[in-house]
Structure formats: C-alpha cells, structure tokens
C-alpha cells in the first residue's frame, strides 16, 4: 500500500511541476478559420511511428466560456469546437461520420447544438473544391429520454481529402464542464483548449495522462455577461503539439487513464450580493455536502425501513462481526444489482429500493449503510473510482468518483462491504472496484481520508492430480481443484451462469482434449468463507505418447501455461492486474513396473527482484512414483513499464519449464 500511496504522490507532483514549468513558454499565435485551408495542408504527411496512420488531426481547437441563459437568467456555458483532419487512407473514412452527444435531464435543463458547419475539401487539378455538408446528411437520434445524438456524414471523402467540423453547444449543466482530450487514435498536430471562467465562479481542474500538456496562458481578461456590468474572467489556455496516436495495451485499468486530458468541476460561486458558496472546495466541504444530500447522507438516515426489518434480521445477535454478516447477507439476498455504478442513490428512501428489489451500486451499498447505522454498527461510505472510470487524481474532486462501497472496522480489522454481488464475501471487492484506493468518509464527524483497497490475499488456484499410468498410456485417478479469492469468485459466477452441472462439465472439458470425468463434486459453492473445492474421478487419454521404446508426457497436462501473457516487445503503460495471484499444481503418477525414468528434468526457481514474483518447479521420483510440483506467484497487482520485462522473463521461464517432458524407457 505504501508504494501505491507513493505512486500517487509522484503522479501529482509531476502534474504540479509540469504546469508550473510550462507556464513560462510563450504562446504561439495561431489562427483557425473555417473554410480557410492553406494549400500546404494538402501536402502534410504522417511521420515517425505513425507514418501509416489513417488520418492526421491537423488541429482540434476548443473554447469554453459562459453567458447568461435566456430562459433561466443564470449562467450557462458555451462549448465550441473546431476540428480539421487530413484523411490519408480509406481506414480514415469513418472520421467523416461525426457525432455530437447532447444531454437533457428530467426537468427542462438541457444542452443544445447551437451551430454546426462542416465541409470536405479536395484538391482537383490544383484547385481546391469545397463540398458542404448536405441538409439530408444530418440526423438526430433520440437515443433515450436523456441522450440525443446528432449525426453527420460528410460528402466526397477520398484519400487526401481534408475534412472539417465546427460546432457550438450551449449547456445548462455547469457543475462539470466539457473536458478536453489531447490525444486520439490518430496523430494530432495541434490541440488546444481555451477556457474563460467568470470571476463569480471557480473551477477545480484535473489534468492527467502520460503526455505533456502545456499551459501557456493564465490571465485575467475583461468579460461582459450582463449589459452595463463590467466583469472579469480568468482565461486559461492549454495546448499540445505533435501528439502521437494513442495505442491500446492489455492489462490496464482503462486507456483513458493514459490519454492526456483536462477536466473541470465547480468549486465555488461568489455572486455580488450573495454569500460565497463553497460547493466542494475541500474534502471537508465534499463530506458536508454528501452528508446533507438526500441521495446520500439523507438516504442513509432514512431509518424507517431499517427499523422495521432489523429485529427480524439480527434476532438478538450481539457479536458485531456476526451482526454485520447477517445484515450484509440480508441486503445481498434482497436486492439485485442492475449493473450500474453510482455514488448516489437513485431512490430517496431505502424502503422504495427494497420494494423495487433492484437498483444501482449506490442504491444498494448506501441502503446497507442505512441498516448498519440503525444497528449501531460503525460503518462508513467509501467513494471509489472504478477501473473503467479511471484513476482518481487524489485531490478533492467529487465528479471523478462513480461508485460507493462501505467499510466497517471490527477490532483492528477493516472489512470492505460491497453488496452488489451475492458471491462477494465480507472484505472482498468486485474487480472494477480494485483501483487501489478509495476515499473513506465519516459523515458525522466530517472526517475523511484515502484508504488502500488492495486485496490482502492473492487470488489462488490449486490443482492436485493423483494418477496411475497404465501400459495403454491412459492416466486414471482423481483430480482435486481449489480456488480462493477472485479465482473462487470467477468460478462461482461461471458455475451459476451455466444451466446445469452437465453443461458445466462440458465447458470444463472443452479445452482439455482426452479428459473424461465422473463423480464431479463442487463444495462450498454457497459458503463464501470456505475454500471452493472441486473433486472428480478422471481418465486421461491422448496425453501420453510413444516414440520407439520411449513413452513421454508433459506432467502439467491441462494446466500448462502455453503462451507468454507478455509477448510484446514494448510497454508504455503500467501492467495493472487488479489483484496478485498464485497458481500451484501438484501431480503424482504411479507408473508401470517395467518403465524406467532415465533422467528427470531439472527443477528450478525463478525469482523476480524484491520478491515481486516467483516460479518454482521440481521433480521427485520414489520407486515407481513420480511427483511434480509447480508454483507461480505474481505478488503484486501493479507493475511499472520497467518491470514489464521482468514479468516477461518470468513467464518465458514458466512457458519453457512447464513444457518439459517426462520420458520413460520401456524395459525390453
């Protein structure tokens, strides 16, 4: 955990330093006029690692500023974007189909596409030909009651075309502004975002990503919002030049964590004649707001439902841990998660939720807190940014969270509680919540801090094979398998999602050619605190082979790691497994009397620096019994890009050593 906290600090420091440093560089004056294409733009080619890119983003310029809304009389924000691409080959054609997403809420608050212009430019016989967006190439998709998608298809797009879009959105939703991403799937020559915030509003900014963004301007400018009143605004410019294309890598939280970007969240308002409104300028303020929110603290405090059901749940249970389990199980068994993450409840009263029987993670976990509170058990909400949602920057920013779980302390132990999945035991979080940290809040005492959400036990799989080899090259005996942690969670999910045991066994055998099983038994399926065990009788054909008077087989049979998980030559981003894992395998084989083993493969230990991972394999024979053991330990959930090559080497050793054969000689 300490290491993770450190990583956090370093990341934040970097951001701090970079923006300070960058401020000294002078802004370059650039102009972007719709329809004004320099002939040289048609000559631009991709270069370097992106030399065969499908398109180049020539520029992407955004402006964000405020005005007074005509209906509400309050501030709304205006977002303008002007983007120009050069299409290099046919793979880039999709860029000519453009969409703009607009949001509207249940009341009258909404976003409007206020203006849009788009065109394609082609060089024909040395002359530029402009093709405007056709009227009948504009579409409005009413996706659902909250989202509208405006779609556009540009005409006459060919290899070498330049296309451009310019549009303006007016939005009533000023709590968070549209952010800006400086990198995309095609290389970008220039990207800038200009933000003018009235003096009456202050926003927190969140810059993140793995590419340097400059911040050349930060100054006060004159602005007029109401006729006759002179006011000021703070003008910030952020920009980046020559940004390469962003390429995906496996084992990451979300690629968006690595895209350089900036996001905005309202900190405070300070209107003349009104008091200063701090929305969430500090953790303390955030906690206060949440404590009062009817979809958070208010919801937890609605104790009517808890009062009515608790006596029946607890039946006088005095032990705290036992009581937590009873309540946790009650919530898990009474509610079904609708697969939506939310840090707020959608309901305003847990009672409605228990009637509906289904809700978001916020509905469910805050209801759990409501019950725990009523039972006088100390439990607290923990805000989470899920892996998909991206790493939280660490400083007070409510919009960067998208989920909530609960934590309780019993004795010296912390127990995380997430009631969205029946198969999650106390103390275990769903994979998406494994983003290393969560923000714990004591709503009553207005206290909060970051807590590590690192799993303290690795996910573990254990395979035990006891086999007898006969002279027809058939192995028969027993297989026992055990699973802990996330391995157990995954197995439970798979088992439950399969129609019946016959189908489950079919799935189990699918990639294990030659295996026939009978007397399959699974134990502790519903007993989440115990080791999940499977046992079966097995007959294995087709795995022991013969060549002349040699008989040989790979002792790891179906559990051999056949391929290196890390084949690629390069790694830019950290490897994030979410949890550490272990895999151990043991096989004993009794072989026929007239078989001899000449020479066993060499056993070995392979270790990563600082005990970050190990692989051991060893071979023993005693009389006509062979024993082979293999253990893989990946001890961390997070490896830096530099450590990638360690992982690669570890898995290379695993693949090679696990492939080694046991060779018997037949006595003649």
């Amino acid at each position: 955990m300490q290491k993770n906290a450190l990583r956090f600090l370093i990341l934040m420091l970097c951001i701090g330093i970079s923006s300070l440093y960058a401020q000294t560089s002078k802004p370059v004056k650039r102009e972007f006029k719709f329809g004004k294409i320099a002939p040289t733009e048609f000559e631009i080619k991709a270069s370097g690692q992106d030399s065969s890119a499908s398109a180049i983003k020539l520029f992407d310029v955004g402006d964000c500023y405020f005005e007074i809304g005509p209906t509400s009389g309050g501030f709304i924000y205006v977002f303008e974007r002007h983007i120009r691409y050069k299409i290099l080959n046919k793979n880039g054609y999709d860029l000519a189909n453009f969409k703009v997403e607009l949001y509207k809420s249940g009341n009258s608050a909404k976003e409007d596409l206020n203006y849009l212009d788009a065109a394609t430019y082609n060089m024909v016989d040395g002359k530029m030909v402009t093709s405007k967006l056709n009227k009948d190439a504009k579409f409005t998709e009413e996706f659902n009651k909250n989202y509208i998608i405006k779609k556009f298809a540009l005409p006459n797009v060919k290899e070498g075309s330049i296309i451009e879009f310019k549009y303006k959105i007016k939005s009533d939703f000023i709590f968070t502004l549209r952010g800006w991403r400086f990198q995309s799937s095609v290389p970008t020559l220039w990207s800038e975002y200009n933000v003018k915030i009235p003096e009456y509003l202050t926003y927190k900014t969140n810059m993140s990503g793995y590419y340097q963004v400059d911040h050349p301007l930060h100054e006060n400018v004159n602005a007029s919002y109401v006729t006759g009143v002179n006011s000021n605004a703070v003008y910030d410019k952020y920009c980046a030049a020559n940004v390469p294309a962003l390429k995906e890598e496996p084992y990451v939280t979300t690629m968006d964590d690595y895209n350089p970007k900036i996001e905005f969240e309202l900190r405070a308002t300070n209107f003349p004649g009104d008091v200063y409104h701090d929305y969430n300028g500090s953790w303390s303020k955030i906690i206060t707001e949440l404590a009062q929110d009817e979809n958070f603290g208010g919801y937890i405090n609605r104790n009517g439902y808890a009062k009515s059901v608790l006596p029946g749940i607890l039946k006088g249970e005095k032990d705290t841990l036992a009581a937590v389990k009873l309540i946790f199980n009650y919530v898990k068994n009474s509610l079904k998660w609708n697969k939506q993450y939310s840090k707020y409840s959608n309901e305003t009263n847990p009672k409605n939720l228990f009637e509906k029987k289904t809700g978001s993670s916020g509905d469910i976990n805050l209801a759990l807190l409501s019950l725990l509170k009523e039972a006088k058990i100390e439990a607290y909400p923990v805000l989470i940014s899920t892996r998909e949602n991206g790493t939280h920057p660490g400083y007070p920013l409510i919009s960067a969270f998208n989920n909530v779980i609960a934590v309780t302390q019993i004795g010296n132990e912390l127990y995380y509680l997430d009631a969205t999945d029946k198969d999650l035991p106390i103390g275990m979080l769903d994979y998406e919540n494994l983003s290393h940290n969560g923000f714990y809040m004591d709503l009553k005492n207005n206290d909060g801090k970051w807590l590590s959400t690192e799993p303290n036990v690795p996910s573990e799989k254990i395979f035990v094979y006891n086999m007898v080899l006969d002279k027809e090259h058939k192995l028969s005996g027993k297989i026992n398998q055990y699973a802990k942690g996330y391995a157990a969670l995954n197995l439970r999910n798979k088992y439950r999602a399969t129609n019946n045991e016959t189908e489950f066994i079919k799935g189990f055998k699918k990639d294990k050619t030659g295996l026939e099983v009978s007397a399959y038994k699974i134990e502790n399926l519903d007993n989440l605190d115990e080791l999940l065990s499977e046992s079966m009788d097995a007959v294995i054909e087709d795995n022991v082979e013969e060549a002349g008077n040699l008989v040989y087989f790979t002792p790891l049979l179906f559990e051999r790691t056949k391929e290196n998980l890390f084949k690629l030559e390069q790694r830019k981003f950290p490897v994030d497994f979410a949890y550490p894992f272990k895999e151990s395998y043991r096989i004993t084989v009794n072989f026929p009397d007239d078989y001899e083993i000449d020479k066993l493969p060499k056993g070995g230990i392979f270790k990563l620096p600082e005990d970050n991972g190990t692989f051991t394999i060893n071979y023993v024979t005693e009389g006509k019994t062979l024993l082979v053991r293999s253990n893989i330990n990946v001890n961390k959930s997070f490896y830096t890009p530099e450590e990638y090559f360690d992982l690669q080497a570890l898995f290379k050793a695993i693949v090679e050593k696990q492939a080694e054969q046991i060779v018997f000689k037949k006595k003649v």
């Binding site: 690692q49 992106d50 065969s52 890119a53 499908s54 046919k90 793979n91 054609y93 093709s131 056709n134 579409f139 998709e141 009413e142 996706f143 659902n144 009651k145 779609k151 298809a153 005409p155 006459n156 797009v157 060919k158 290899e159 294309a245 390429k247 068994n333 079904k336 609708n338 029987k357 289904t358 439950r496 999602a497 399969t498 129609n499 189908e503 055998k509 699918k510 050619t513 087709d542 082979e545 060549a547 002349g548 040699l550 040989y552 290196n564 084949k567 690629l568 030559e569 083993i597 000449d598 020479k599 493969p601 290379k652 693949v655 090679e656 492939a659 080694e660 054969q661 046991i662 060779v663």
Partner: protein, 631 residues
C-alpha cells in the same frame, strides 16, 4: 336466435385464449425442464390483416426462467418503427408458485433507438423491460398490440427460440378477409387449421410440449426440428408504394419500378465517365476502370428510413456526395456502366443468409444488394460497398447462393459464383533453422486465396505498430524477435494475398531427460477436438470449405541426430482429407501437411464421425520427433 348464441360463444372463445393461465412451475412437465434454462409457458400471436396496407398484431407471452443461465429470456425487447407502433403494453412478474408478485407500470418500460452497427441512421426503436426476480424460478408475462401501417411481410413464427429453451405452448394465428391473397410455408409436419369466422378466414398453427435442446456447436439452425411458419402478402402497400410479391418475377418488378428514373447522372459525371473509358477497348476493361473509380471515390454510409430501406438513393445524388449504402452504390455503379454502354442488373441477395427459396417469394430473405454485369462470355458480379475487393470477387458471404436479379421484365433467380475448397487456399512454406539452444530462425512465406484472402486481407490495412503486435500475438510459433514482415496483394485485381515473416523464435525443442522433442507441426496445429454429443438434433456445417497446404523444413544444428520420426498419416472422410508426411534427409526434417475441408451441410447423426475425424487430426498434428545430441 341460434345465430346470436353462436356469436356470443365465439367471443367467449377469444376471451378465454387470453385469460389467465396457471404459471405454477410445478406444473411444467419434467421433460420440458431437462436441458432447459427457460420454458415458454404460453405464447400467442394473433395477426389480423385489415387490408392491403394495414394489420394488427396482438401478442402475449409468458416465460418461466428456471435459473440464472436463463436470464437473457427474462427481458422484453420489442422492435418497432413509425410504421409499426407498439402500444397497450402490459407486463407482470409471477413467483415459482404462479402467484403474481408485480404489475409493471408504463414508466418502467424504457424506449430507445435501435440502429444497426453498420448504419448511421435507421428508424427502428426498442421497447425494453428487464424483469427482476431475486429467486429462481420465476415467470414473466407481457403482452402488447402493434399496428402495422404498410405491410411488406408478415411476422414469422417459430416455437423454439434457441438452445436451452423449451415450449409448453406456442400458437400463431393469421386472420384475413376471405378475398385477401397471401401465401405461407411451414415446417414439414406442422398442421395448418383453417377456420372460417364470418367474412374472415383464420389460419392457426400451434406447438405444444417441445423439449429444449442443449447447445450444439456448428449448428446450421433449427429448421429441421422446430415448428415454423413464414407468411407473406401477395399484394401490398407500404410507405406510398404498392406492389406484388406473389412470385419472384413480380417481386423483381416492384424493386425495378421503385428505382425507375433513379439512374440518371449529372452531365459532369457523364463527361467524367466518357473521359475515364476513352482508351478502354473491351467492356471488361471499362468495367474495371469504372469499378476502380467507384472504390477510390465513394464510401459506405448506411441510412435506412421507411421505403428508403428498399429504394436506392438516386444515382444523381450519389454522384454529388459520393457515398451511399449497398443499394445506392450498386445503383450508382449501374448508372456509370450504363453511361459506358454496358447493361447491368441490381441483385437482391442474402449476405451470410441462406439462398432465396425458389418456391416462396417474400421480403426478408435478402438483406443486401450487389450488381451483376452480364457479358457475352461470362458474368461479373460486383460488390459495390467494398473499397478493396478485386473486381468480380464478391466474398464468401455472397457466394454460392440463389439471388434475385432485377430486370425490366421482373425478377429472375440466378446463382452467384462458387468458391470451391481448393480455391480458398493457404499455401505456406516455412524454413526453420534450429540453433544449439533450441531456438530457431524462422522464415514463413505464404499465399492466401479467395475466402482465405478475405480472412487475412485486413493485415494489409493495419498500421505497422498494430500489425507488429498482431503478428507476435497470433503467431503459432513463439516469437522472440520479429525481424521483418510483409503483407501484399501483388495484383489488385486478383483475390490473392502474400505473406512473408522472418523472426527469431523462443525455444522450439522441449527437453525430456537427455532427449529433445520437436512437435513437427509448428504452425498449423489443431489444438483441441470438438466435444462429443449424444443424440445431436441439428444439422451442422464448417464455416467454409478450404484447403491448407504447409511445408516445413527444419534444419538441425550440428551434433543433433534424429532418433525418431513419426510415420506418414492419411485421414479421409466425407468432411475432408488430411495428410501429413515426415522425412529426414541429412540434417533436414521435411514435413508436409495438407488439409482440405468440404463445405457441405451434414445431418446430425454424422457428428460423431466428424468428432472422430478431428480427433485423428488432433493426434496427427501433435506428433513429435525425438532428437538426441551425438556429442
């Protein structure tokens, strides 16, 4: 008086069919629970044809979800558009004993757009409801009415929706006026009851107590084991158009007429065509030039709205914007050819769908449009949505099927070209030079044709960074260092792709005591055998017929000796043939492997033989040579 009574009686019958039935799970016959994740308790579709362009559907269904695996059936997902509005939706949830636990409100039902992946815009929408129950089993029930304005086709019906679902009762009724003309086809043993009800005639079909089928791989569908009905109007009205579907000829006339006058080109485009072909001598050359022009200058953009789902956008319009869907681009290409003096015909085709049924014409058997250019000696088919296909190559999804050629004399069924297994080839030569430590340098040279060209073509379009990753990730031989690679289509007019990869490998020899083992087939191994199935019920087929031809030369390092080499293997069956040959000459192991698979549809009882065939290939593919060090 008697008349009056019978009328009351008739009404009563209609009422009872929609009355409450008992959803107690205990009442489901045991045989229906076997292999089932869900059971359709009762499904009733009543389709009332009110006229040439109007109909009403009353639909009601109740499904018991037996376990978690059945949850996908615990949803209402009904599609509609502005010509088929859905209303009067009712939904309820029942527990295992059949007791109603919840009535859903209209606010519980979500409404969202439903646009295919390939389209930018369509007018389809979805009514959506997810039923929630904490315990299994439970039963969902919903009903709705749907008004059709315009009638191109009737809803079809099938009792079995998929693997793992059983049917207690499912029924379909079509009601029409006595003088209204329509056609239908059904599964082979399905009984059709015709009932006269006043001025109306009803066709009734039903299916009861059909057990579920556990999942079967490579299945070609349920046609042979399920009860089904497909029905189609003869005359119809839709979105301001009228036509007749009673045979393919008339169907073709409708499409032809929809497109009347849609073939004009602007003067500038005409000039351009003349300019492009001015030096071309033969019609074939002209087609090639114009097809190339189409591929270089247009892109696929799909918009499907009302009759626009059937009527191509005017060629004039495409000339202006240079994009369109399959219809628009085919029709535009037709106009370009026409300007060059070459006649061509639009083709309605079921892409990745079965052949058109020669005996039953209806909408819905085709989902795509291509172009056919009949020449004196041969006929060329053009896939106009592809920016890359060589001229005349229409891809596996369009090949070998009955399609409808649209002519001024109406529709005509024709057959698209067949790509034989031998033509869908992969010919690959690999040279592997082994080093002392078991690693090797490897050189692969391969050629892919037709369907295999199509499968691998995207390699030529990838950016180097991504291509590199893909080669390393997907290489059968473990790559230690990728030295060079090249994917080429040597001749843009021929569906042939070449591949050259040079790389250093991770160790290929595995140790075993003092021996070294080499899996002789390093590159095209069958890694598993399909699971055996008892009592398979559905037909099966391989995705496509093909021919793989591999030769690998292993050059052994000094001081290594071949102690054992596997014997040659030949396997043949009606599914295909396989040979593997092993030989040693000096310090070279030569391995050659061929596999040819046929693309026929096989009856279920053959599946055991198919599994055996693959089991033999699996065993043959993992044969090992044993090497020793002589020093």
């Amino acid at each position: 008086m008697k008349y009056y009574l019978s009328l009351v009686f008739a009404t009563a019958i209609i009422n009872t069919t929609f009355a409450q039935i008992d959803y107690d799970v205990a009442k489901i016959p045991e045989n229906l629970k076997k292999d089932a994740v869900a059971v359709i308790r009762n499904e009733e579709s009543f389709f009332d044809v009110k006229g040439l362009g109007a109909a009403k559907m009353d639909y009601k269904v109740a499904i018991t979800i037996l376990n978690k695996a059945g949850e996908t059936y615990g949803e209402m997902e009904e599609v509609y558009d502005k010509f088929s509005n859905i209303y009067n939706i009712k939904a309820a949830l029942y527990d295992a004993s059949g007791k109603k636990v919840k009535d859903y409100k209209s606010s519980d039902i979500k409404d969202q757009s439903l646009i295919s992946d390939f389209s930018i815009f369509e007018d389809n929408r979805l009514k959506l409801l997810k039923f929630v129950s904490l315990t299994y089993p439970y039963t969902i029930e919903y009903s709705y009415s749907q008004d059709y304005k315009g009638l191109l086709s009737f809803p079809s019906w099938r009792d079995l929706r998929g693997f793992g679902i059983a049917v207690e009762k499912s029924a379909y009724t079509i009601q029409r006026a006595k003088d209204y003309k329509m056609r239908y086809i059904t599964s082979s043993n399905l009984q059709t009851d015709s009932v006269i009800n006043g001025e109306k005639l009803q066709y009734k079909w039903k299916s009861t107590n059909v057990a579920a089928i556990a999942n079967e791989p490579l299945s070609t569908g349920f046609d042979n084991i399920s009860a089904w009905v497909k029905a189609s109007p003869n005359q119809f009205e839709y979105d301001g158009s009228t036509g007749n579907f009673d045979n393919w000829k008339n169907f073709g006339s409708w499409i032809f007429n929809l497109n009347q006058g849609g073939n004009k080109l602007p003067e500038a485009t005409k000039l351009m065509v003349q300019n492009l072909i001015k030096d071309a001598k033969t019609p074939k050359e002209k087609i090639k030039i114009l097809y190339n022009h189409l591929q270089q200058n247009t892109r696929y953009v799909s918009v499907q709205l009302g009759i626009g789902g059937f009527r191509p956008i005017l060629a004039e319009k495409v000339a202006q914007v240079n994009y369109g869907d399959c219809k628009a681009l085919s029709n535009y290409m037709k106009a370009l050819l026409n300007e060059a003096g070459i006649a061509s015909n639009l083709i309605m085709i079921g892409n990745d769908m079965p052949s058109l049924n020669p005996n039953y014409s209806s909408l819905g058997q085709a989902n795509h449009m291509i172009l056919c250019v009949p020449l004196a000696k041969d006929t060329t088919f053009l896939e106009c949505t592809s920016q890359y296909n060589p001229m005349g190559f229409i891809g596996y999804g369009n090949s070998d099927r009955n399609v409808l050629m649209v002519t001024e004399d109406g529709g005509k069924l024709v057959h698209t070209p067949v790509y034989q297994p031998k033509e869908n080839y992969q010919v690959r030569k690999t040279k592997i030079t082994l080093a002392e430590d078991g690693t090797a340098s490897s050189e692969i040279k391969a050629t892919y044709g037709n369907a295999q060209f199509e499968e691998n073509f995207s390699m030529t379009l990838m950016e180097p960074v991504d291509l590199r990753k893909k080669i390393i990730e997907e290489s059968a031989i473990p790559v230690a260092e990728l030295i060079s690679y090249k994917y080429l289509q040597p001749d843009k007019t021929v569906p042939v792709l070449t591949e050259e990869i040079i790389f250093k490998t991770n160790p290929l020899l595995t140790k075993g005591g003092d021996k070294l083992f080499l899996v002789v087939n390093q590159i095209n191994r069958r890694e598993s055998v399909p699971l055996k199935l008892e009592g398979r019920k559905t037909y099966f087929a391989v995705p496509f017929g093909y021919n793989d031809d591999d030769e690998i030369n292993y050059i052994l390092p000094k001081g290594y000796q071949v102690e054992f080499i596997p014997k040659d293997i030949t396997i043949s069956s009606e599914f295909g043939t396989y040979t593997a040959k092993f030989s040693v000459k000096d310090n070279i192991i030569v391995y050659s492997r061929t596999q040819t698979m046929n693309n026929k549809k096989y009856p279920p009882e053959k599946y055991g033989e198919y599994v055996d065939f693959y089991k033999k290939i699996y065993q043959a593919d993992k044969q090992k040579a044993v090497l020793t060090k002589t020093l």
